[in-house]
Subunit: 277 residues, 2 copies
């Protein structure tokens, strides 16, 4: 609740990171009280487990990405505070952010019924804060539109303005996309149309595309790679699509036409200069 209250005041501020840290710490601690059960994974080369409550299980957790040790998050936050990420690898950053997020989401899954909103909001906070930290500016989510006899504002996902003559970022944040993903391309198209193609770099950040069958204890990834290719060809061009848990069939899009770069989010921290070049 405190995070909700202050988050927007200074998205990249240290206060947000402290409150995020409290949430992460509490989630990791609480999850120690729950058993882990292995899920039958239908995702090639990925193992998943879930935390089991009395009546239900949490969403799926990627076993190779999950680090239950609070120290990893603290180490990451220290590096952020000191502006020194060089000692960390993109892989370890991806794991740390994945673990922080998924532990909060799993805890909410276990203690609340059908609450999709709280995990989504938390994910927005954690990614919004980290993105703002990396760019060194705070985001907005309304843009002015001036078009002859039209004078209005356009509500958007987070957008970051790096200043005159520099590219701006368009940052949709979703825990999963499914068929709603077309919105991300459509919003990018609107930004291209209103402000000029290339002015905004579209870099959505998504948690995962897993779907867990509560009864069968199975996990699958729901992906629509052919549709993504069509959207990237015909609606707008996204610069990157970042995942915490990169889906297998989207990873393959890095190798086919049209150019569609799907990467683990940890890489963002090290490739910013090449994005804006």
């Amino acid at each position: 609740m405190r995070l909700q209250k202050i988050f927007a005041h200074d998205v990249r501020g240290d206060d947000n990171r402290e409150l995020l840290t409290e949430c992460v710490r509490a989630s990791l601690r609480q999850l120690r009280n729950f058993k882990r059960i292995e899920l039958k994974s239908h995702v090639p080369n990925k193992a998943y487990f879930a935390f089991a409550g009395e009546k239900k299980i949490s969403r799926a957790v990627n076993a190779a990405l999950f680090v239950s040790d609070q120290k990893e998050w603290d180490k990451f936050c220290n590096a952020l505070a000191n502006n020194k990420l060089e000692g960390l690898s993109p892989e370890s950053i991806t794991k740390t952010i994945y673990s922080a997020t998924i532990s909060f989401c799993c805890f909410v899954d276990l203690i609340k019924d059908g609450d999709q909103k709280t995990p989504g909001t938390f994910f927005e906070y954690i990614i919004g804060h980290l993105f703002a930290w990396r760019l060194g500016v705070n985001p907005t989510n309304r843009l002015p539109v001036l078009n002859l006899d039209m004078d209005t504002t356009l509500p958007t996902d987070f957008v970051f303005n790096l200043g005159k003559d520099k590219p701006k970022f368009h940052l949709p944040i979703k825990t999963s996309t499914r068929e709603r993903v077309i919105q991300v391309w459509a919003h990018q198209r609107v930004l291209d149309g209103v402000y000029g193609t290339g002015r905004f770099l579209g870099t959505p950040v998504i948690l995962a595309e897993t779907k867990t069958d509560q009864r069968k204890k199975e996990v699958i990834e729901i992906c629509l790679p052919d549709q993504w290719r069509i959207y990237q060809m015909h609606i707008a061009q996204l610069k990157r699509i970042y995942y915490l848990d990169v889906p297998v069939s989207y990873d393959k899009l890095n190798a086919v036409f049209p150019p569609l770069y799907v990467k683990p989010f940890g890489q963002f921290f090290f490739e910013l200069d090449s994005l804006t070049a």
Copy 2:
């Protein structure tokens, strides 16, 4: 359940109309057991009521559009069966279809908890059937995409192919749109891109944009007219947007730039020739 089973076999077929009629008849009959309560309408020049169950009330019903007499629906169906709509006005057709749909939706609101899917599916059936009847062809919801080294199919809303050298129709059907409406323009953009601009006429049909406050017994319309104008300018051009209960602030879009024709659905039955001209 029978409707679900047979609907897709022959969308425009008489069997569908008979099953739709059974649903309409049962809904209107059941609703006679519920009291009507007036809602406080924040929509200019429109009065709304709701059907009241023991613990909750139904969605809002536009008093000026609702006809509780089954005979209106039967008369409409007779006209369809005999291919003679001339005796009916666009206004009366809009009212008849609105009443049939909203009575089914209200009945589901009262007997089920949080079920949005059943009303949405029923609305798809009724509009899909009527559109197919008017065009004289059945729809499909997959289109082949052939693009050099890409060979796949694109899932779509209903699309109607009137034959070689004739325009085709793209028919999204929604009980309300809110912020999800951008999907409709985005799908139109994909069709324009893949098959050529103008090949598909986008003609979404929407029930209403009302939102009812259960506790306060108030009704508002949620509309984003400025955003619609931006979408129509920058994503794609929709040919018509049909409503059963046309929202006040979308009606005004008929008079401003860009051209965005928002009409009561009854008019579709009489303007088809000018759409395809």
